[in-house]
């Protein structure tokens, strides 16, 4: 009975650790994190980043500021990551439209999906504000990756590298709260 339960994929919860995400973004050369706090990623990501002296954390008041700061940093050759909530992504849409899309600046977005149900694809979420995010990113032609496990987070490094190498944007949708 026990061995059957252990083998049942329904009962095996994927693990998403903040440590694995942080390791991946460091490997991508991210020096600066620009953020408005998000409850999904607060304990597992933002607090550890805030305590990590190898990052410079800039706490902005609203998310579109972060898009401008990231563009200024990139003009200096510095890589940054924007850590926000899906509500903030929606708020900053005009800045993303101009800077990320029309000016083709490498804007890397790590987006916590507020109240998304575990193991449910964002496009199938009961939360309207979550469900529309993939479609909006598709309209903007911003590639995105859903991050729900440590295996998913291993894609961060190469995707951020590609975004900076090709001067285009990328989004990572954090679908469950990472464990610290």
């Amino acid at each position: 009975m026990t061995s059957q339960a252990a083998a049942d994929p329904v009962l095996i919860k994927p693990v998403l650790s903040g440590h694995a995400i942080i390791r991946s973004i460091k490997a991508a050369g991210i020096e600066h994190v620009l953020s408005v706090p998000d409850i999904t990623t607060s304990d597992g990501l933002l607090w550890p980043i805030a305590r990590d002296p190898s990052f410079r954390l800039v706490r902005v008041c609203k998310e579109d500021e972060a898009i401008g700061v990231a563009a200024g940093l990139w003009a200096c050759g510095k890589r940054s990551l924007i850590l926000i909530q899906n509500t903030g992504l929606l708020y900053s849409m005009n800045a993303i439209r101009a800077i990320a899309i029309e000016y083709r600046q490498p804007i890397c977005l790590l987006v916590g999906l507020l109240l998304k149900e575990d193991d449910v694809p964002p496009e199938n979420s009961r939360q309207f504000g979550v469900r529309i995010v993939p479609r909006i990113l598709q309209v903007l032609d911003i590639p995105y990756h859903v991050i729900e496990s440590d295996q998913d987070s291993s894609a961060l490094t190469s995707s951020i590298d590609a975004a900076y190498d090709e001067s285009r944007s990328v989004a990572f949708l954090i679908g469950r709260s990472p464990v610290p």
């Binding site: 200024g72 200096c76 800077i99």
Partner: protein, 188 residues
């Protein structure tokens, strides 16, 4: 009230090697007054010039970053004043041209055009060095002192549009404007 282009001509004498971030009407004036590879044009999403400038100031702490914003633009991103005060970049000097209109969008009055006090807002947001000028000669006299201060420094320039300058939207939105800035900055 002084003319914006006259104030910028005075400023240009003092910022020969600085990064200068400008936007819309200020940019059109500035690009004609000081054509330079370290001019960074912050357009596309109105209000974010100071945010671009903060990124530049963090990314290049060895170089002074001067911002030429407009009052309509600042109103679209007022929280930037708190963010910058928190980061407190010592190499950032922020000028806002106060003409109390959305000059680039038809000359309509900004909200609060009869009473809004940007210097008071900056002080309340945590800026410790705040200046306000409406007379050209006084500005000319005090500018060296302003620029010698450790940033962040906030300056309200009560200035109306002066001589009309060409509005080269094609350039300010171009890849060329961004690429030549980035290449030049990497080389200096």
């Amino acid at each position: 009230m002084m003319k914006r282009d006259e104030a910028f001509r005075i400023l240009a004498e003092h910022v020969r090697h600085d990064i200068v971030v400008s936007t819309y009407s200020s940019a059109f004036d500035w690009l004609e007054i000081r054509p330079h590879a370290l001019n960074y044009v912050a357009v596309g999403a109105m209000g974010l010039a100071s945010s671009h400038a903060l990124g530049l100031a963090i990314g290049r702490p060895d170089r002074r970053v001067v911002v030429l914003d407009g009052d309509g633009s600042l109103l679209m991103n007022l929280p930037t004043l708190v963010t910058i005060a928190e980061v407190a970049p010592s190499n950032l000097v922020y000028f806002v041209s106060v003409n109390r209109t959305y000059e680039a969008n038809g000359g309509h009055p900004i909200p609060g055009s009869s009473f809004v006090d940007f210097s008071a807002i900056a002080k309340g947001a945590g800026w410790l060095k705040v200046h306000s000028h409406s007379e050209l000669e006084a500005f000319r006299e005090e500018l060296p002192s302003i620029l010698s201060q450790q940033g962040p420094v906030f300056v309200s320039l009560h200035a109306e549009a002066g001589r009309a300058t060409p509005s080269n939207y094609a350039f300010i939105h171009s890849d060329k404007a961004r690429e030549q800035f980035r290449e030049h900055l990497a080389a200096v």
